[in-house]
């Protein structure tokens, strides 16, 4: 009984290590999304700024576009945000925002504060569309081609390298 008491920390640690081991296997940055090469899941959601209008994935057929999953409560989104604002200004590719599990007012305030790079943002209040898209955590960004197929997925904030070396070259190729 006594030895048992001193073993509690060890037992907790073993459980922790087991979880970390599983966590490593699921490393979100290393596992390619099963959705790549598949059609982008359909959605029809209300727009953030004009709640009486909706936007559907099918409306964007024939365009190459980025779907950026963001939320006002997401800290990492702030790191990628200036980059998105810059990208939007360059008019290379339209960026659509999916405001994920967020209060629309908080979302609007956040964009007013930090700049709005999105051609349009849509509201995914209960996160249903996020589930369809296999969203791991916010932010995530999908590149979708003219036929509506997902071609690339960025998990976590977009870095300048990822943008220059992966996303933009792919955008140019798909826009041809």
């Amino acid at each position: 009984m006594k030895t048992f008491r001193w073993s509690i920390p060890l037992a907790i640690f073993v459980v922790l290590i087991a979880f970390l081991w599983i966590g490593l296997g699921r490393d979100p940055r290393e596992v390619p999304s099963p959705l790549i090469g598949k059609p982008a899941p359909a959605f029809r959601l209300t727009k953030l700024h004009t709640p009486n209008e909706t936007l559907a994935a099918s409306d964007l057929k024939g365009k190459v576009w980025l779907l950026n999953v963001w939320a006002s409560w997401c800290v990492s989104c702030r790191t990628e945000h200036p980059l998105l604002v810059q990208l939007a200004k360059s008019n290379i590719v339209p960026v659509y925002g999916l405001d994920y599990k967020d209060d629309p007012q908080a979302g609007r305030d956040w964009l007013a504060k930090n700049g709005d790079p999105y051609t349009a943002s849509i509201v995914d209040r209960d996160g249903r569309v996020g589930i369809d898209y296999g969203v791991y955590g916010v932010p995530e960004t999908f590149l979708i081609d003219k036929a509506g197929t997902i071609r690339y997925k960025q998990i976590g904030p977009i870095t300048p390298e990822a943008l220059q070396e992966k996303i933009l070259p792919l955008v140019r190729e798909l826009q041809q």
């Binding site: 006594k2 030895t3 008491r5 001193w6 073993s7 920390p9 060890l10 640690f13 073993v14 922790l16 290590i17 979880f19 970390l20 081991w21 599983i22 966590g23 490593l24 699921r26 490393d27 979100p28 940055r29 290393e30 409560w73 997401c74 800290v75 990492s76 702030r78 790191t79 200036p82 980059l83 604002v85 810059q86 007013a112 504060k113 930090n114 700049g115 969203v135 791991y136 955590g137 916010v138 998990i155 976590g156 904030p157 870095t159 300048p160 390298e161 220059q164």
Partner: protein
């Protein structure tokens, strides 16, 4: 050539570390003085070799040697010299090398300053540190070699992450690592004591100064990181509960608990096994933090290059080091004993309660940090835990801990009758409560949280005054100066560190309670009022920097129509990476900051058009960092105590002896 020299030095360091890890330990087990005597020269040789490797890497950065992969990825010929030096530890590989350098430095320090330790104990301590070092050197050499060549060499480097090109970032990692790695000393003492089967007041006295120094460095390191986030990330926050911040905060909380628990073990001989467990935990959490940051299991604002092989390596290392020590703990702790008893109301119990609160707070941070991972592993969905969780869990735990901070030092050891304690503290309590209730009215807005925060800060101050007065009254010396001099510097260190906490709480409370944030659209010449100040935006001018282009805004600040200052917030675009950076302009004062940062240009013309401008008033925000520095200063002051230097000479002071001398001092 220089990189190869560095690489070779690292390999030699690994061999020396192996010898250092094995031979003295074997010597201690079989009582072979000649083997044990190897501990000191091995520690010295290892430090020299790792320092040589580190110097080689720094030299490659300074010389812009883009044939080294690490330099090509993290530096640039336009990068100013001081940032090229800092870039040495700006990458994953470089920061691990820095970690290893710190570890060998701490080992060297132990071997120099613990001349009077029993030989077997020193041999075991140095061996355990050598084992940790073996792990890190293997990790460096096999998964993260900082000297890897790039052939053909890159014509130009990719540049250091602009976020790291900042004076605060130059010092933040080394200080943080000093703290992290410093806990390895307390850890090694604990393991050595478990192996040797001797855990007593002397052991605690030896461990104490090392732990306090490590804790003080960690405090400064965390404060620098937080200050850096405040002025460079451009949105005026100072703590985000980001996994990487949590990774440094968990060892800090545990280290804080450890310092106090070591004090009890030294003075009263109690809580021994608990203290050992904390010593193991503090360093384990430092290692866990490294794992979380380096393996990429969690997403964070601190994005490092991640690699699954590295993750698996660190996890195996964690399992070995932490699992091994906890197994040893499970096996030997029972034999250590619990020490003397104490009553429900005594200094021991108040310190124990504080310890438990700190550890539970640490566990709640750990849970919040790993919760997304747990849910994911159990296929229960993916979530991200944010501020609301930490706010809800953390403050209720820390408020009673801070309250006990006032009670503990005034309470007697072993048994302190409640009526007597209440009589001692009633005035301190009354003054703190009344002032805390009235002060928010004076400051302009009353909320329960502001009153509570102020109460806790005031309570620390008033109870400290009571404590000091009591000490001075009970002194037999004549004259105030003589009475003041009768107390040890470690006592004053404790008071100072506690006052630092009070200063910190004032900062947190007032900035949360009274800050004002405005995000406004300003045309050139437009103005906005915040508090007593008028901010006038005079537009933006472009200009070049050493390795970036900058847009510098000009904002005039007026009070009662008088111009008091001109603030120049910047937006930078770095040439090599194209990454934008926001540099806020902050006018710092003891009563608070005026903080202006440029948001986004709102018109197509960057220079003449309107801008989104953020104007924040942050009352007392600098008290947060000043408080942290005072805490660290208290730690350093406590360590300068003469007692620690004398104590090592007195080889076998039994616990009862130490307790008796404390009782006499009371």
């Amino acid at each position: 050539m220089i990189p190869e020299l560095g690489h070779f030095a690292l390999i030699l360091a690994l061999l020396v570390a192996l010898a250092q890890a094995i031979l003295p330990l074997v010597g201690a087990a079989f009582d072979q003085p000649r083997l044990m005597a190897l501990a000191r020269p091995a520690a010295r040789a290892q430090f020299l070799l790792v320092a040589l490797a580190f110097g080689c890497l720094a030299a490659s950065f300074v010389a812009n040697d883009f044939s080294v992969q690490n330099v090509a990825s993290n530096s640039n010929s336009e990068l100013p010299l001081h940032y090229r030096v800092a870039a040495t530890w700006g990458s994953h590989e470089g920061s691990l090398l820095l970690w290893t350098l710190m570890l060998s430095g701490w080992t060297l320090a132990v071997s120099i300053f613990s001349r009077n330790l029993p030989q077997a104990l020193l041999a075991r301590v140095v061996s355990v540190m050598g084992l940790v070092s073996v792990g890190f050197l293997l990790f460096l050499l096999f998964t993260s070699n900082p000297f890897e060549r790039l052939l053909p060499p890159a014509p130009e480097g990719r540049d250091l992450n602009p976020l790291l090109q900042d004076p605060g970032m130059v010092f933040h990692p080394p200080l943080l690592y000093m703290g992290y790695v410093g806990f390895s000393v307390a850890f090694s003492f604990a393991i050595a004591a478990l192996i040797g089967g001797r855990l007593d007041a002397t052991w605690a006295r030896w461990s104490r100064p090392w732990t306090t120094v490590a804790w003080a460095f960690l405090t400064v390191g965390i404060a620098l990181g937080s200050g850096w986030a405040y002025y460079t990330l451009g949105w005026g926050g100072w703590w985000f509960w980001d996994p990487v911040e949590n990774a440094s905060f968990m060892p800090w909380l545990t280290g804080t608990a450890l310092i106090h628990s070591l004090a009890v073990t030294e003075k009263r001989g109690v809580f021994r096994s608990w203290t050992v467990l904390l010593a193991i935990l503090a360093f384990s959490l430092s290692l866990l933090g490294t794992f979380l940051v380096r393996s990429g299991v969690l997403t964070s604002v601190h994005a490092f290059a991640t690699d699954p092989a590295r993750g698996i390596f660190i996890l195996a290392f964690l399992a070995l080091v932490i699992g091994g020590s906890l197994t040893l703990f499970a096996w030997r702790a029972g034999a250590v004993g619990l020490g003397g008893g104490f009553e429900l109301i005594s200094r021991e119990s108040s310190l124990l309660a504080n310890n438990i609160l700190l550890v539970v707070a640490m566990a709640s941070v750990l849970l919040g940090t790993l919760y997304p991972l747990f849910l994911d592993a159990l296929n229960l969905g993916k979530i991200s835990v944010g501020l609301p969780y930490f706010d809800a869990v953390f403050y209720p735990l820390l408020a009673p801990a801070v309250f006990l901070m006032g009670v503990g030092p005034v309470t007697r050891w072993r048994n302190a009758p409640l009526p007597e304690l209440a009589a001692r503290l009633k005035w301190a309590l009354a003054v703190a409560i009344v002032t805390a209730l009235l002060l928010p009215w004076v400051l302009g807005r009353w909320t329960p949280l502001i009153a509570l925060g102020l109460f806790l800060a005031l309570w620390i101050v008033t109870s400290t005054i009571v404590n000091l007065r009591q000490r001075l009254q009970s002194s037999h010396r004549r004259g105030l100066l003589a009475k003041l001099a009768a107390n040890s510097t470690s006592y004053y260190g404790m008071l100072l560190a506690h006052l630092g906490v009070a200063v910190f709480i004032v900062g947190v409370t007032l900035v949360k309670g009274y800050e004002s944030e405005q995000d406004v659209r300003l045309d050139t010449g437009g103005s906005v009022t915040a508090g007593a100040y008028e901010f006038r935006f005079l537009g933006v001018t472009p200009g070049p920097g050493p390795n970036y282009r900058a847009l510098t805004g000009t904002v005039e600040v007026r009070k009662d129509g008088q111009l008091i200052e001109t603030l120049r917030p910047e937006k930078r675009i770095y040439n090599a990476s194209g990454q934008p950076m926001t540099i806020a302009a902050i006018s710092t004062g003891i009563l608070g900051d005026r903080y202006v940062s440029l948001g986004e240009p709102l018109a197509n013309d960057d220079v003449r058009g309107a801008w989104g401008v953020r104007i924040y008033l942050k009352p007392f925000v600098d008290w947060i960092w000043v408080g942290a520095f005072i805490m660290a200063l208290g730690g350093f002051l406590a360590v300068s105590d003469r007692r620690y230097r004398l104590a090592v000479r007195r080889r076998d002071a039994p616990a009862s002896d130490a307790a008796a001398s404390v009782a006499a001092a009371e």
